[in-house]
Assembly symmetry: C2
Homo-oligomer: 146 residues x 2
């Protein structure tokens, strides 16, 4: 059977392939594509609220709780009180967390390389740009809705 025309199905299939490949690649560091994305967010800031993390990777705040619990149990991240707003907790990546993240990033990069094996660098950038615009457009829509 040929590749489908249905762009929604194509997105699902490509995404599922990416997630599955990343999950396999991340086995050695005991992360999956989701906890990797979370760690990546943490590595990019010095202290974020769980609400911000939830928005960034589009996950329910209640699911973030369990994921941070997992990272904290492994010493990869920490919850710190936020004096400016005592409702919030500032989640920060630890030294070991950062070390693991760098290892994980290399694993993910080679998994992405497998998934996108048929595309050259320019095409990868084009794909990234188009997807970013879809995601940004969606973020704006949600913003507008609230």
């Amino acid at each position: 059977m040929r590749a489908p025309e249905n762009i929604g199905l194509l997105l699902s299939l490509a995404s599922a392939r990416g997630v599955a490949s990343a999950n396999v690649a991340l086995g050695p560091v005991e992360l999956n594509s989701r906890s990797y994305s979370l760690l990546e967010q943490l590595a990019g800031t010095d202290g974020v609220s769980q609400r911000e993390l939830a928005d960034a990777i589009r996950l329910d705040p209640s699911q973030i709780v369990a994921m941070i619990d997992g990272l904290e149990r492994r010493g990869l991240a920490e919850r710190r009180p936020n004096p400016a707003d005592r409702r919030q907790k500032s989640v920060v990546i630890t030294g070991p967390g950062r070390t693991l993240f760098h290892r994980a990033r290399a694993l993910v990069e080679s998994s992405v390389d497998e998934v996108l094996a048929g595309l050259d660098d320019l095409e990868r950038e084009t794909l990234r740009g188009l997807l970013q615009r879809i995601v940004r457009h969606d973020a704006a829509r949600l913003e507008h809705a609230s």
Copy 2:
């Protein structure tokens, strides 16, 4: 927060957005993005085995069973014996199934239109082409593995 660079995460987010939007749009015809894709496959052939359907939309054969059960219960598709190989069943779309499919397709098309609102026609074709190459490349990989 900016749109992520991580192309795997971008694929997940865009795909999730597409699925969610399609599921809402398909509410009136009581389908979801998956059963729609299945019906679309059926509409494109006159009789397919469940195994072929499973390969086409990359779902486990055991999950296809339940989905065909659902379509059959609603009179949208039928299982017919395949005299050439009595292990197989030939799944065919019915008249009412085809009618519903056309209605569903219009709903999905406008949902895709919302998700891709930021992209012009040429960009949509580019995106489709890139995704097809990822999916095709993956299919070839699986073929080779077996």
